[in-house]
């Protein structure tokens, strides 16, 4: 491969969905999937995954912990459509039905390094009180037709959501050839530190 004239740049994402903070719910699991633009293609790693069910810790730590690893490498020609991770959290309700507890999405950080993102989660609201009641009763709450909806802006104006809980994701980003293709995503201070190290 001609490294001098790369035609793609690579973004390597390591990290994990560390856990969540849903004060009211327990026994949750989460699904994630990456949403990216047309010019992006995963070269290795899992694009989507589903975690184990985590119960809330006893005692002082109320957070749910999944520590669900993410590992994926993207190649791309164009930063447009930078990958986002869309996370949806599910868990049983009072009647034991599996219902959605939150959707959320966040862009994969642009800069190399370690990043921790806390993603606020939300769920779509029922369209009416009656709907709300029946959905509660039947355990069939409104869900997005596609969890990837939360990573898109289009058409969101028709929905109403309620926020609940957060999910913490940590990313370790490595990029390759971004600079060579003319995309400078490294902040100046990090860069200076880097050059300093080099020097």
């Amino acid at each position: 491969m001609a490294t001098n004239n790369p035609s793609v740049f690579l973004v390597m994402i390591n990290g994990q969905i560390e856990g969540a903070n849903f004060p009211e719910y327990d026994d949750l699991y989460c699904k994630y999937c990456f949403v990216y633009g047309n010019d992006w293609a995963p070269t290795s790693g899992l694009e989507e995954g589903i975690s184990q069910i985590a119960c809330r810790g006893q005692g002082t730590q109320p957070a749910l912990v999944w520590n669900f690893p993410l590992e994926i490498t993207f190649k791309s020609t164009n930063p447009f459509g930078w990958p986002q991770i869309a996370v949806s959290v599910y868990g049983p309700d009072t009647f034991g039905n599996d219902v959605v507890r939150g959707y959320g999405a966040v862009h994969v950080p642009l800069t190399p390094g370690k990043h921790v993102r806390t993603v606020p989660m939300f769920v779509p609201e029922s369209t009416s009180r009656l709907q709300k009641f029946t959905s509660w009763l039947m355990g069939r709450r409104p869900e997005f037709t596609d969890p990837k909806v939360v990573a898109q802006g289009e058409g969101r104006e028709v929905t109403r959501v309620r926020s609940q809980g957060t999910v913490t994701i940590s990313f370790n980003i490595v990029t390759k050839d971004m600079k060579k293709l003319g995309y400078d995503a490294t902040p100046s201070e990090a860069l200076s530190a880097y050059t300093h190290l080099q020097g």
Binding site: N5, N38, N78, Q131, E143, T145, G155, V158, T159
Partner: protein, 1692 residues
Amino acid sequence: MASSDLREKMRKKRRALQETLGRVREDADTQVLVATDWEMSKDGERTAVQEPSGSEEQQVATLKQTLKAQRMKRRKKLVEDTPAETPPEAATGASEVERGPRAGESRTPVAAASSSRRSPRDLPPLPASSTLTLSEGPMKRRMVEKLKAARSKAESLLQQEALAEPASRLQGLRDRDPLTRFDTEADLGVRRRDDGAAPLVGRVTFREVAHRGWRRAEVDSGLPTAEEAYNFFTFNFDPEPLEEAAEQKKERRFVEDRGVEEEEEEGGGGGEEEAQVEDGGEGESGSEEEDKEEDAEGRSEGAPLVEDQQGELFIDETAQDFLEVKKAEYLGYHSRVQRESEVLFTPSLRTVPTSCKVPENMQPRYLEEEGLYVGERPPVSLANQNILENRILQQDEAKKWFGDDGRVLALTDPIKQSSTRPPLFNLEEDLDPALQTVYRKALKTRHASRYVAGLGETAGRCQLDVDVSGLIFSHHPLFSREHVLGVRLVQLYDQHLNRQHRNITGLLTDKLHGLRNAVRNITDLHGDRGLNVVMRQRIAEYRLEVRNTRRLRDVEQEKDRTLLKSTLKVWKEMKALREFQRFTNTAYKLHLRKQEVNQSRDEQDFEEEIQMELVELQGELEEEYQRKISQYRQQLEEWKAWRKKQKVSSKKKKKKKKKKEPNEGDKDDEDEDEQEEKDLGSEPPKPEPPERQELSLLEQQVREKAARIRRKPGEPILVPEVTLSGNITPNEQCPRGEFARREDVARRSLFVKVLYNDKEVSRTDRRPLGADFRVHFGQIFNLKIANWPESVRLQVFEASGSSSALLAEVFVPLPESTVLTGSAPPQELEFSSSQRVTFNHEGVGSDVPFSFEADGSNKLTLLTSGKLSCCVSWAVGENDIPLAPPTSQTPGGIHGALRQTDAIACIGASGLSDMKRLSKWAAESRLDPNDPSNVVLMQLLTVASSGEVQVPDYFRLEQLQEEFNFVTDEELQKSRRFRLLTLRSQEVVEFRNYKNVPAVEREVSEKVFQDYEKRLRDGEVVDTKEHLDPHRAVVAKYLKKIRESVMNRFLIAKHHFLLSDLVQEDEVPSIGVLGLNIFKLAEPKRPLKPRRKERKKVTAQNLADGNIKLLVNIIRAYDIPVRKPHPSKPAVASKSARSFTEAFVAAQSSQSALHGNDWPLNQVQVRPFVEVTFQRSVRQTTTADGPNPCWNEELELPFSAPNGDYSTSSLQSVKDEVFINIFDEMTFDITEDDRERGSTVHTRIEKHWLGSVKIPFSTIYLQSRIDGTFKVQSPPVLLGYSKERSLAGEGGYDSVLSLSEGSFVTLFITIQPQLIPGESVREKMKEMKFDSQEDERLLHAAEAFQRDAALRFPGRPCLTTVIDISGKAVFITRYVRPLSPPQELLDAFPNSPQEATELVARYVSLIPSLPDSVSFTSICDLWSTSDQFLALLAGDEEEHAVLLCCYFLAMGKKAWLIIGTAIPEGPTAYVLTYEQGRYLIWDPGRGQYYGQYDTFCPLQSVGCLINADNVWFNTQVYDAPMRMGFDVSRSKLWKPFFSRAFPNPGLSSVQPEELVYRRVDKVAAAELQDRIEKVLKEKIMEWRPRHPTRWNRYCTSTLRHFLPKLEQSRGRDVGDEHRLELQSMLGDYRISGFPLNVPFSELQPIVEAVYSTGVHNVEVSNVEFALAVYVHPYASNVLSVWVYLASLVRTR
């Protein structure tokens, strides 16, 4: 069970006791109440009497207390007796129960006690928990309980050991126990003080001990010693409290229960003793007993266990072993009550007598009765009010809470009964116009910015000093005439002084001199010659300046002169007046000082001045003259030119005339000339030369002017001086009028009001009006201000006597923040008043004409006016800080003439940085460059103009934008990558889902755009090559365009989301659904006849390649043609005429009858298998046997969406079709060597196409599954095969099967996973309202009709309006109109109407279906009219159906359009005809008809029927055509759209009156035929790359010969004939082949159809092919294409 008996008994007893007690209590209660009442009144009396003596009050108090204590005691007994009931006091009393009051009742007292002992972290025990746990594991529980009980005892022991604490736990409990029962009475605080400490300590220690015990056990937990083992069984080791909180909770409860129980036992024992010991203890023992009963009852659920336990286990003994029995410490009830009564007070519920509430010796006063308004008091319940009053009365200053009427003081109820805002009815309708809301622009409140900024710190720090020093009247009504003159004199004098001070005349004169000198200097220096342009210009400028200055000076001088003159005149008048009236009122005196001047020098100066002026004027005049002269010359030139022209033209005329009349004289000519000149009356006048002005005249003018405005030479300079040194005649000597005036003046006084922001803030003292009409105030007002100053106003008031009148108002300009007190100059503000005042004395009045002359002429009218001298400035605070608001807030600009000279004022401070404006301003205002104050500015200007600072001439919003444009727009446009990205984002078809746009420009190849650009280029060019037919090509283009426009609409709709697109939400289930669900519960788990369940639908978005599979379930087939043995004897078939009846009745084919006995029964008839082709992937079933095979196999075909785009829209536009081909597998033994036959099998397998079924993918996608039996499209003739129905069995149900001819295959097709069809898109398209020209009412009705239909029968399609090709909604009946079919069709069978009908149907079916109808129907149906349809020669089922229906109507049939669903098309349109008492259903796309009761009719359901007049919606139970009636007149079955209520308005048809058909073009058809044949042959050779393809010409020509016959018979029943014919010709060939008939639209479908038959796959080496094509043309270019394809294998 003795214990239970006992308990039962006790319960009974208790109930009885309670009943009696209840009665007793009632009595007692009333007694008590009476008593209290009495006591109260007594109390009141007593207090009234004993008030003065303070010491006795205490006695009273104690007495009261004792009384109360007694009362309490009495009551307490009752309370004690009925602890289960709420004492009335407790319910309403002020001293509330400490714990949840009902807890004590609902639980047992024991439980209550235990709960009090519970650690605060524990949750309150659930009442149900005990029963629950007990029922769960009784044995275990029991064990645990016991262990716990033991442990608690052990703990108590431990406690006793470890702490030398005398108060044991039990004692603590004992202490508390009674208290918990009394707590309803006890005040919280008291309780705490009383016994809070001991039990607390007890509690703590108990816990400690418990823990210690636990810890010890933990520590020692090595090997169990004997003691430990013992402990293990006897002690209960406290489980980890944190770990098992819930568990522990329950357990604890049991421990406690037990502990208390034991206590109870002991307590019971001790209680009896105590009863004897304590004096007031009668009740106690009872209560103890009661408690025990309660206890027993309370635990009745769990009681048996506990009860059993006692006798059962060793626990009792052990408990006694470890317990130390002690006498319970118990505080006697009586003493307790007594003690409590000292501190507690329970307000009574009784109404307080009014006398207590009003002051003594006063009757309550009712204001309301006295007629005064008393507001309504807020509603308070009487009981609460009484309690409150009682409570208040207890206090010391009780009385102050009560009003005169003896009630508690209360404000009126603040809550309004009615809502303030009037309710708005009819929200939906238009509001009353009066209530209509009107939009008004937001107004900035005037006060918004009025506060001084930063007020927080500097609040009140701003101070405005208003100094009103005084005022002088310039006119006052009380002025005498002399005053008027005097004031005028003073004014003139002031003016004079002012002018003298400014000395403008002098300045101007100096300037003039300077300028003149300058001019002279220049001319002197350079002489006249050496003047360069600059100098000349400068001189000109100087001259101009001189002229201006001179003019100004003259004006000023004249003013000076007139001023002096008028001053003198006024003085003279005044003197005259004084003499006339013989007294003086004013002290004015004018002195004139004369300054002598040097006569000669003066004269000289004068003369010099005049000369100078003259010279200048001359120069000016000369200039003027020169200018005029030049002007004159120019005009003269013009005139001359004109003149010349004139002459030329007149000469020409003359010449003409001369030619005309050569004999006429000259005179005539001249006349003509003149005439002509007259005609040209617009001749410009001849300019006159200007005249020079006379010099002498000029001099005269100058001198005259000088005399007028200047001091004459030699005249002394007069300097007037006004003094007030004159004597005023004293009052006595004045005449009466004057005296009265003076009196009046003396009466008047004045004062000034200061108004700040229109508010009066202060006023001055009254000051008398002096005789000189001056008033001195000299007052300074300090205004501390918070509001931003907007105006400061001074109002002058004049008062005479007590009345005062506003004279005038003066607005004082607000001071700049730099104007500070001390440094501010006083201002003189003029004021005037237009008040009309007249007097009958000497005062001249105001606004009254008067005259100085005796004859009354020359009248004057003066208005009251004057000057107010005042000063407004900002104060200076301590430390010399100005108390002014910050400058930045100064509102408004500076007005006035200042602007002219002040640069900053003129162009604003910001303008200073703008050099352009500054220099412009400098040029305009002609700054004196020598003025030292302008030096800086001038320097700046020179710098600016020298160009050091370049100011661009334009304005740019984002100045730096240019720098961020890393590339120019053109370059950006040129960039291929950018273009690619742009096109992709525009969703251009070619690039819609383009992946991986290269990162760098060079990697984007030009090729990417080739297709796109070609498409753009080809937009208009018609490509005939591909379409073989120019007309079709045009049509194809047109269709493409329509598709594009529809797609565009669709794309727009795609970006318009509905909630259902994003959020999945269950519908609110209706009762019906719920009911069904309930029934489902009763359903068998594994039903005998399983049905297909609805699968979960998957949205298309999260799919990828390989995820979707097409499942094709091939179940069975009927009536597959069977092989025919090589015929040896040709049979002659007679073609029987068919009739309709044959179609209905099982028609025995002639073939079967003929060949039935040819077949040896054991021979294999046919070995069919099914091959499914989809997206180039092929799957096939196993081979079955016989004409009615059953495969029951599931084939899985992968599906991949175009471009990997799995969005709904993309899936809908998938054009692929599923081909289901039925083949016959033929094996031929090709073992050459007979000897090997035993050991080797060498066969060749051939597959022979028998027929196919085509199902478009979109149909599957939209319907999500296809389930049914389909007719196999088989060729009319299959060489080597025949239909042999009767062979399977002669009788039986065979007749049922063969109701219809043809083969059938039963299929089930679906997509795995199930995709959600693009329903939403269609919904959206529905939402997108199409405009329509239909009547609104009709549209509404149509909508309502459709909605109603959808509501009643959701599945049934109902159409009322459709969208025509221009995108407008049209009512559907407009499409139906009789239209005559092409005449030749009717002429073809003049005798047989049936044949003609079939031919017409065939004609319609030959019009090709829209090749991409799929993408159309899924989005929206576009209905084209029949002429459009015929012009396009393409359309979907609706158009076919409409055309067929129209034809049938024209042929005089009863015909309707059926809107329904069919397989495999889905929603479609068929045609229904009524013939010979039967209903026929026509499939317009295939030209076939079915009887109503035909099993294999593809029409599955009927939604509505349409004809030209009406639309009927099917309201029958069933919608399958077999099970319903088609009689539309029956309103039960069909709901008409137009009814009597809404009659048909007589809609005109959108169809043309007549269809114009183009003539049959046989030549073109022949040409096309050749081309198709050529193409097909090429293709077949192409498909057989590895084998030579030989064409059997002989066979081909034979076949070609057959084809027209086939067309004539429409593919029916000719097979035998021509097969025989063929056979005879090609006897030694094994022929397999078939004719294909397709409507012609494009070449590609024909090629596809040929390919799908797989004829080319024959790989026998000696195979030959025959291919014949026949194109039969019908009217309007409708072509029927026949392709006869055969493979021949030589058998010999």
